[in-house]
Symmetry: C2
């Protein structure tokens, strides 16, 4: 075997959870890695696919503990790649969708290290497949919005009012804690309380759960059913509901 | 081996093009299928993964020919599943994203046939990975919109004005022929001509091409570079461009 002079960094989409929703390319990269970094959202079954001699480093946070700061992750992957190692940074879902890949891409480039992004199945695709409801339906929804419930401290909150438009299908990532706010914003912007909502918790995993509700009952449903992240909230404002009332009774947590 | 009494239909995401961007689950379903239906957008390399004895049926259209009508596809997959066969309908990308899966789901359910959706990597994820530019960037874009350039005859054209909002990242599918219209609509709604655009043609295939341009030059670039579908047009309106002029010179095809 030839000695490698320079290493390689791959940001690899680990998919939504189920191990068999990995791509063949992701499997290849994991199996040929010298070092695998992963966090809480990546299934341990997937990390186990690494070869026996590969180093595995957990960089996520658990309740009550701190995650690795991003800068520490960046420095580690660059240092290891400079040693000639093949580094895989596993990202839940698809690295390009709320995967915060920018920092790692920038760090690798600044160090002159080759970086590859391996796309994955994003959680919204897996959730839609599980409930057999397409993200876009001809005639009813022509745009599909991926958005997140969280904003970085100091960032302006996302402007949700413009999403409240007939023909829009929305998937909210990591928005369980913000469901009341999302509901209130969309209703205030004129979306009907009758807009159908599908909540898919832990899509593609053995403990996946699907709950159907409406925009008007969203926050109440999340509270009474004890929904937790990771979950996808699908909110649809179909064209056929255009003009429906937005002020039908709201969930008690919506205010 | 036991005789199966009822068959099974799987709508399987074939991913964006490259065979190794199939998921392990998709590979499993293709390899265990008795019948595989596919269209023009699915790579022949993927269809070849079916076992030797499996029937392969091309249901797509080619230039100057008619595609199979959807109703004919629906009837065929239901009839074959009723014979006890395992039917795989391959869909380019992810079946839930502009995959027109509703009709097949409805037909299967009406006939009491079990239907499974196997999610896939959608073209936008593959294109973003290829150019190593995340679909969402913290602080700059908080919503990511998947939309299409085409509308069904008789449908209202998509309302693109509401997309022209700072903080929005857009991926247009199948929009090459409508690029002038998209450009004009977004500029008219106030999006700056300087909004960066990445065109990714045939993402993940050996003939993939990436062209960087701006919203103001979009249609002209597509014409002069001879871009054709399948292509993804990424148009970003970052928050940092809010307030920039929208009336800088436009491409000559934009009017």
């Amino acid at each position: 075997m030839m000695t490698r002079k320079t290493g390689h960094i791959a940001l690899v989409g680990a998919g939504p959870g189920a191990r068999d929703l990995l791509t063949l390319r992701a499997l290849n990269r994991i199996q040929s890695a010298d070092l695998v970094l992963f966090d809480r959202l990546v299934d341990p079954d997937i990390v186990e696919l690494a070869r026996d001699g590969a180093e595995r480093i957990y960089v996520g946070k658990e309740v009550g503990r701190c995650a690795w700061p991003q800068g520490r992750i960046d420095r580690l992957i660059v240092a290891k790649a400079k040693l000639g190692l093949r580094v895989v940074r596993l990202k839940s879902g698809d690295p390009s969708v709320f995967g915060r890949a920018c920092e790692e891409i920038t760090a690798a480039r600044a160090a002159g290290i080759e970086i590859e992004i391996v796309p994955g199945v994003t959680a919204a695709s897996a959730a839609a497949a599980s409930i057999a409801r397409p993200l876009t339906e001809r005639g009813e929804t022509d745009s599909f919005v991926l958005t997140t419930g969280t904003a970085r401290p100091g960032d302006a909150a996302p402007d949700r009012a413009r999403l409240a438009h007939p023909g829009t299908s929305m998937a909210f990532y990591m928005a369980v804690q913000r469901a009341g706010e999302v509901q209130a914003d969309l209703l205030a912007a004129g979306a009907p309380a009758a807009c159908p909502v599908d909540i898919v918790e832990r899509a593609s995993t053995p403990t996946e759960r699907h709950i159907a509700t409406t925009l008007g009952q969203l926050a109440e449903t999340i509270a009474t059913q004890g929904v937790t992240n990771p979950a996808i909230l699908f909110i649809r404002y179909p064209k056929s509901l255009a003009g429906a009332l937005s002020d039908t009774p709201r969930g008690i947590f919506a205010a």
